[in-house]
C-alpha cells in the first residue's frame, strides 16, 4: 500500500530510516525483493548521471529555443552564487536542455522537471565525496514524498500548474537533500513543506506549448529552492503548516487555476506578445 500522507511516512520512519520504509513499501506494493527494487533505483541514478554527462553544448531543440545555455552557465566567470551553486545552476540547465533537445533524461517526477534532482544531487556527491549508495537512498526519500504529493495533489502541469511539476520536484529534492546531510525524517518533511510553500501558485505557461521556455530555467529555480529549504530545515527551521496540509493546499490551488494557466500554452508567458510571436513561428 503506497504512502498517502507524510504523517504515515513519518510514522513508518519511527522504527527505521525513512528511505528504508519507502523501499520496504515498494517491495510489498510490487511484490518485488529488495535487490530488484534497489537495482531499479540504482539504474535510475546512473541514468540521471548520464543525462548530465551526455549534454552536448552545440545541440539545439527543434524550435531553436533551447540549447547551449548550460554550457554558458558552466563557463561563466565570477558568479554571484559561487562555484557550488554555479554547478547546480548549470546542471539544471543542461538536463533541462537535454530534455528539450530530445535527449535522454529521467522523468523525476516529470520530464519537464527532470533537471531538479540531478542538479542538486550530482554536485553535492562530487563536492562532499558521498557514495552512490547514499544517492540511491536519497532517491527513495524523494520518491516517498513524491508519491504522497502525487496521491494527495498532482505531479502534472495540466492538472496543477508548474507548482505540481517543478514544485513537486523541488520539494522531493529538498527532502532528499536532508537525507544526504544526515537530517531527521521531521526535517525532511519540513524541507518538503517549505519548498512547496515557496512555489505555491506557480502557473504552467509554456511558450508555444513547448517544454522549453520558461521550463528549462524553472528547473534552476526548483534546484536552488530545494537547497535553501533543506538548509533551513537542517538549521532547525520548521514549517508552521504541516507538510500534508501544504500539499492539500497546493492541490486546492491547482484546482482553482484557470485552464489557461495549466499547460495549455494560452496564458502567462505564452500569452505575451513575444510568446505569441514564437508560437507563430
Amino acid at each position: 500500500m503506497a504512502f498517502t500522507s507524510v504523517r504515515s511516512l513519518l510514522e513508518a520512519a519511527e522504527s527505521t530510516e525513512l528511505w528504508r520504509s519507502v523501499l520496504a513499501d515498494d517491495c510489498r506494493d510490487r511484490d518485488a525483493d529488495e535487490a530488484e527494487s534497489m537495482g531499479k533505483m540504482t539504474a535510475l541514478w546512473r541514468a540521471m548521471e548520464r543525462s548530465a554527462a551526455e549534454y552536448e553544448p552545440a545541440r539545439r531543440s527543434p524550435s531553436g529555443l533551447s540549447g547551449g545555455q548550460g554550457a554558458k552557465m558552466a563557463a561563466a566567470a565570477g558568479t554571484l552564487c559561487g562555484r557550488f551553486m554555479q554547478r547546480v545552476i548549470a546542471t539544471a540547465l543542461m538536463v533541462g536542455e537535454q530534455n528539450a533537445c530530445m535527449g535522454r533524461i529521467v522523468a523525476a517526477p516529470t520530464a519537464g522537471a527532470s533537471g531538479v534532482l540531478p542538479a542538486v544531487l550530482l554536485p553535492l556527491r562530487d563536492r562532499d565525496g558521498l557514495s552512490d549508495e547514499r544517492m540511491v537512498q536519497c532517491l527513495y526519500v524523494a520518491a516517498g514524498f513524491g508519491q504522497v504529493i502525487a496521491t494527495r495533489a498532482s505531479i502534472a502541469g495540466a492538472e496543477g500548474g508548474c507548482q505540481a511539476e517543478i514544485g513537486s520536484a523541488s520539494a522531493m529534492a529538498a527532502a532528499a537533500l536532508v537525507h544526504a546531510r544526515g537530517g531527521t525524517a521531521e526535517q525532511m518533511a519540513a524541507a518538503c513543506a517549505i519548498a512547496l510553500q515557496n512555489v505555491m501558485g506557480l502557473v504552467c505557461d509554456p511558450v508555444a506549448g513547448l517544454v522549453e521556455e520558461p521550463c528549462v530555467k524553472r528547473n534552476v529555480m526548483g534546484a536552488v529552492n530545494a537547497l535553501a529549504c533543506a538548509d533551513m530545515a537542517l538549521a532547525g527551521i520548521a514549517s508552521a503548516i504541516p507538510c500534508d496540509q501544504v500539499i492539500d493546499a497546493m492541490a486546492a490551488v491547482g484546482r482553482a487555476m484557470p485552464a489557461a494557466l495549466r499547460e495549455t500554452g494560452e496564458g502567462g508567458l505564452a500569452a505575451t506578445p513575444a510568446g505569441r510571436k514564437i508560437a507563430e513561428r
Binding site: V22, K40, R104, A107, A111, G112, M172, G209, V211, G265
Partner: protein, 222 residues
Amino acid sequence: MNIFDIMGPVMVGPSSSHTAGAVRIGRTARRLLGSQPVRADILLHGSFAATGAGHGTDRAIVAGLLGMAPDDPDIPKSLWLAEGVGMAVTIRTGEIRNAHPNTALLTVTNTEERTLTVSASSLGGGRIRVNAIDGMEAAFSGEYPTLIIRNEDRPGILSEVTRALGDSGANIATVQLYRDRRGGLAVTVIECDEPLDQRLLNELAGLDGVVRCTYLDREKED
C-alpha cells in the same frame, strides 16, 4: 501508483505524455499488428495536433512503430530510419470526436496486407490507453499480458474462454466486454497477471465463435 511511476521512466524528452507516451502508442500498435508495418497513417488529434511537432510526437510514434522503447536515443531520427526499413509514413492532424486531448489514430499495414487501426491516448507520465481497435471500443493499457478476442455475440463464448484460461492456471486481472450490436460482433479484452503460453492461445483461437484472438505480451522496457 508505485514509486517508479514517480521516479522514472528513463526517456527521451521533451514530454512524458507527448513523447514517451507517443512512443508507447506506436509500439503497442506494432505489437498488435504482430510485425513491422510497411505503411503507417498517423492522425494526431487535440494537443497532439497542436503541439506535437515541437514535442516530437510524430517522430516518437514512428519510433514506436519501428519497435523502439521510450529511452531509445535514435527516436529523433525515426523518420529517416523508417525510410531505411521501407515503412511509408503519412502524418496528418484532425479532429476525433469525443477523444482525449492526447489521442492518435494509427492505421498500419504489414507485408501480408493485414491492416489494423488503433486509437490510443497518452494519459500523462508516459502511461497510455488503447481506446479502440478497428473501430471497436476496447480500453486497456498494454502493461499487463492482454488478450483481445473478437467473437460472435452469442451466449457461452465468454465462459468457454474463461474456462480455458482457468484450466491453464492463468489468473484474470480484468475483463471487459464490448459489442457493436446485439448478435453482431463482440470484443472481449482480458488482462491477466502472468504471460500466456502459445498452446493456450491456439486453443482460444480455435474456439467456436472466436473470430480472431490477438495477444499482447507484457511490455518489456526495463
